[in-house]
Amino acid sequence: MVRLVKRALVPARLRRMIRGWFDSRYISRADHRQDIKDALWEVQTLGREVAVLRAETDRLRKEVDRLRARPAASGVRVDEARAARWDDAHRLAQETAAALDRVLQNEVLLWQAVDRAAGDGGPSDGRALPERALPSGGAA
């Protein structure tokens, strides 16, 4: 804008007045320069912060690697043989629990047979009876 004013043939007084008018409304070159300096400083600061964060990330990554490696050092790393043993123990626990279910049920049935043999097995004492129906809701 200033260049435009320069090119035109404008009296010096008017030119000064217009320039003064513009200058009062726009940021001066010196201020622009300062702004750019400030921005540059910000960018440099952020750059330093990124560098610090990157170092921190590297440190944490190393820490993770170290922690991952540690079980091996203290001797509880799960190798194949150990995993197989654990799987086997798990299978055994499940099968034992299932077997115990059957043992408990058989115990119930055994007592039922004992009572029947002792003549204390209920009114029918072994004769087949119809299955009972579900209880009814209404006054049956």
Partner: protein, 415 residues
């Protein structure tokens, strides 16, 4: 079936022996086939109540052994003719020996689980004591269900009672492990009241209130599907269990039997117990947010609060699989209610269900009010109190809305 109770170390032990015609496979009152795991269990009361009325001991035992009893049940001490008659009429089972007189009591306790439905009951009955049932391990049955955190729930209920100044009795029992299949659980739904039964004399109880709501009582909820159940054998006052409990002087009371889970949720969230309400059986520090129950209840909360669903559960997860199938669903009335109200339902795991159900706010508005016959079946000492609460807080269904309850399941069958 022969039943005997022994007492020792503050623990009541129940043992039972099968008659010749009994079998380790049986049926729950709701029709679910059950398999017996073992024939003993125990109930730990916080302090020994001393002498317990034989009817209470007998009925507590009956809530455990009923599924496997075919012909007769013999208790270890004489029961009143009234209870014997209730068992005879309700199940066609001869019960004895008979002798002695029935009992009665005057107070109403709440069978408090910690969930929204029992919190709603608690909101309605601010001075009623809580009885909480806590599952513990059975010394003979391996516990393969350790994700079920009854201990966490019991601690939460204890804190709830302390902070709200409620009287609480926590009863610990392994009776659920008498059930082998489908998995440990109450042999009959009423076994949750075993502790309340044994304590009824000491606490002077004349009734026990449960959080069973409209869906469970009148619409055949849970393992029932989609039908109007005025004669629900489990929860109708005139049903087999209702009459057996009444005969033992401990009336079944369903204060929220006439309202849906939307209403119980609203009542629970508006109550002072709001912060303590917990329906999840798995989470330790708060609900797990990943089980089917958390998903269903979050859906109900979202529909009550009219906000989008907050869940990380995706449609490919097993707990969300049933909502990818066409109806019918268990507790379908609440799925319809939620589908009509949760914003952005088409972007949730319920999208397919919503498309199938086509529910609208108008078609589900009846679920915001109370079904009047539910009030009529509440025993007289507590009826007017519940009626007044419902009138003030909820409002009653008109005839058209009540007809929605009474024709539940018919439309689907006709179409």
């Amino acid at each position: 079936m022969r039943v005997s109770w022994t007492a020792g170390d503050g623990v009541r032990h129940l043992a039972f022996r099968l008659d010749a015609e009994d079998s380790i496979t049986g049926l729950c009152t709701d029709g679910q086939p059950l398999k017996l795991a073992t024939n003993s269990c125990r109930v730990e009361l916080p302090h020994d109540p001393g002498e317990i009325h034989p009817d209470l001991l007998a009925l507590a035992a009956w809530t455990v052994v009923a599924p496997w009893t075919r012909r007769r049940v013999v208790f270890d001490r004489p029961i009143s003719p009234e209870l014997a008659e209730a068992i005879e009429e309700g199940w066609g089972i001869e019960a004895g020996p008979v002798g002695g007189s029935p009992r009665s009591g005057s107070r109403l306790a709440i069978s408090y689980s910690g969930g929204a439905d029992s919190a709603a009951v608690a909101a309605m009955l601010p001075d009623a004591p809580f009885v909480h049932f806590q599952r513990v391990r059975h010394p003979r049955v391996p516990d393969r269900w350790t994700h079920y955190r009854a201990d966490v729930l019991a601690r939460l209920v204890t804190r709830t009672a302390r902070e709200s100044g409620r009287e609480l009795t926590t009863v610990r029992s392994d009776l659920e492990f008498t059930l082998a299949e489908p998995r440990p659980g109450y042999p009959e739904h009423h076994a949750v009241a075993a502790g309340a039964l044994l304590l009824a004399d000491e606490l002077d109880l004349g009734g026990i209130a449960f959080g069973y709501e409209l869906g469970s009582r009148w619409l055949g909820g849970d393992r029932y599907l989609l039908r109007y159940t005025p004669d629900n054998p489990m929860w109708a006052a005139h049903g087999a269990w209702g009459r057996a409990f009444a005969a033992a002087g401990l009336n079944l009371v369903l204060p929220v039997g006439g309202v849906s889970e939307a209403v119980t949720m609203r009542l629970a969230l508006a109550s002072p117990l709001r912060e303590h309400v917990r329906w999840c059986l798995r989470g330790v520090d708060g609900p797990c947010g990943t089980c089917g129950k958390c998903l269903r209840k979050e859906f109900i909360v979202a529909s009550v609060e009219r906000r989008p669903l907050r869940t990380t559960i995706t449609a490919d997860r097993p707990v969300a699989r049933k909502w990818q199938q066409p109806p019918p669903y268990g507790g379908q009335e609440m799925i319809e209610y939620g589908c009509a109200r949760v914003p952005g339902i088409e972007d949730t795991v319920f999208a397919k269900a919503a498309a199938h159900l086509n529910a609208t706010e108008e078609s589900t508005a009846w679920l915001d009010r109370c079904y009047p016959p539910a009030i009529e079946e509440i025993p007289e000492p507590w009826r007017e109190r519940v009626r007044a609460f419902m009138a003030a807080e909820v409002g009653f269904m008109d005839e058209d809305e009540a007809r929605r309850v009474e024709t539940w399941g018919l439309r689907e069958e006709l179409s």
